[in-house]
Amino acid sequence: MSIQWIDRLSKISRQKSPWVYHVNAGACNGCDIEIGPCFCPRYDAEQMGVLLQGSPKHADILLITGPMTLRTCEAAKDIYAQMPKPKAVVAIGSCPATGNVFAGSPTVLGSVEPSIPVDIYVPGCPPRPQAIMEGIRQAAKLLAEGKTGKKQGISS
């Protein structure tokens, strides 16, 4: 009885306070610029309890931008491994999905999927801040349901 109650409370709290950590795996900085406004007055993600954290150990959701490159691959995997479970990954923009315009370059691995299990893809080049916030919201829902680690797509 009380275990169930604690379980429900922790589910709600996971949905209500998703803290994010942002890593640039080799993006052109376009998507990173779009993440900034999410935390600024116009969109203010703190209304949903979203906080941008400085340390991956404090975060629940990893925001990853850009295609995986030879140089960043190990670092990105390391950062993902440092996040305590349960954790979710939101891939922002077209690059983490396909490699986009960087696909085929000898220094670029392409999609981030083989290295890090992505939960939500937010399409766009770059996506709008609304779409990024929707991606974070859906990732938080997945965290609450305990369904992270399986591929999902957002409709926008």
Binding site: S10, S55, H58, P84
Partner: protein, 302 residues
């Protein structure tokens, strides 16, 4: 009521762990809300600090390599226990604990423990950023403790007693203005809010002292921060505001004092950028020391 029962109530219910945590979460929310409104944002809903705490408690804890598990889990617990006992010593209305001679000194020691645990936690987790943060916190605590401790000593000198209840009951003297000033100067540094957010400098040194802390121990550190805020507000309300005999009036006074203090520190945090450690230190040893010395001199003369 027996003495043990009183201590139990004071430490665990009011004004200790339970009441302190609820008030602490409320005050943390007010801080975040005021900050958001000053920046033109909407800000988080009122339950946010509570859900942050529950979420952190429900996560997996990673103990960093090369760190002693007992120290990693023990430091936040020691900080929590000492700040809870500190809260239970403050004679806010409804506190069942009787004041005793020397509880001011015990309170000073207990209020110092969270900062000490933070410093040790920073060094113990072996992260470079946490060690930088811990060094800064150690230096800064030498700075802000000068006005803080001297002001409290001035109060004790004035009341000719080291019992909090007698200090509160003593006739007010002009020294109280300087005491309030010295305490106010040290509050933003104690709360690590903006011009003095040198130790936990977010994004500058990753997450400061708590870089390697995660999940449950981090949740307890956040709770300790809330309790510290409650204790400081309680100390202010008790020392500088008139003592009300009815519980409702006392609570209203307490909440108003909290709002005033939080608005001052948050407004200051929103309006200023981070100082360098040497500037913050010289600020406390110049203006903080001036206010504190004046407080002692006035307390001795009157």
């Amino acid at each position: 009521m027996s003495d043990w029962w009183r201590i139990f109530l004071a430490v665990l219910v009011w004004p200790g762990l339970l009441g302190g945590a609820l008030l602490g979460w409320l005050f943390l929310w007010i801080t975040r809300k005021i900050m958001a409104r000053l920046q033109g944002r909407k800000g988080p809903p009122f339950y946010q600090p509570f859900f942050d705490f529950v979420k952190l408690m429900s996560k997996e804890t990673i103990v960093p390599g090369g760190t002693n598990r007992i120290i990693f889990y023990g430091l936040p617990l020691v900080a929590l226990i000492s700040v809870t006992f500190a809260l239970s010593l403050i004679p806010i209305p409804g506190n069942p604990l009787r004041s005793f001679n020397g509880d001011l000194i015990l309170l000073i020691y207990l209020l110092e423990m969270p900062a000490l645990c933070d410093i040790l936690a920073g060094f113990a987790t072996r992260s470079l950023y946490a060690q930088v943060g811990a060094t800064r916190e150690a230096i800064l605590s030498l700075g802000y403790n000068l006005p803080f401790l001297t002001a409290l000593i001035a109060l004790a000198v004035h009341a000719k007693s080291s019992s909090l209840r007698e200090i509160v009951a003593a006739t007010p003297s002009p020294a109280i203005v300087f005491v309030a000033l010295a305490l106010l100067l040290s509050v933003p540094a104690r709360l690590k809010s903006n011009p003095f957010s040198i130790a936990n400098a977010e994004s500058e040194i990753v997450a400061g002292i708590h870089t390697e802390y995660n999940s449950k121990p981090l949740a307890i550190f956040e709770l300790v921060h809330g309790l510290e805020l409650t204790a400081l507000v309680g100390l202010f309300a008790v020392l500088f505001l008139p003592f009300a005999h009815s519980l409702v009036a006392a609570l209203v006074i307490y909440i108003l004092c909290a709002l005033g203090l939080i608005f001052l520190t948050t407004g200051l945090a929103a309006a200023t950028a981070r100082l360098k450690i040497q500037n913050a230190f010289s600020f406390f040893w110049r203006w903080g020391a001036a206010a504190a010395v004046l407080a002692i001199v006035v307390a001795l003369i009157w």
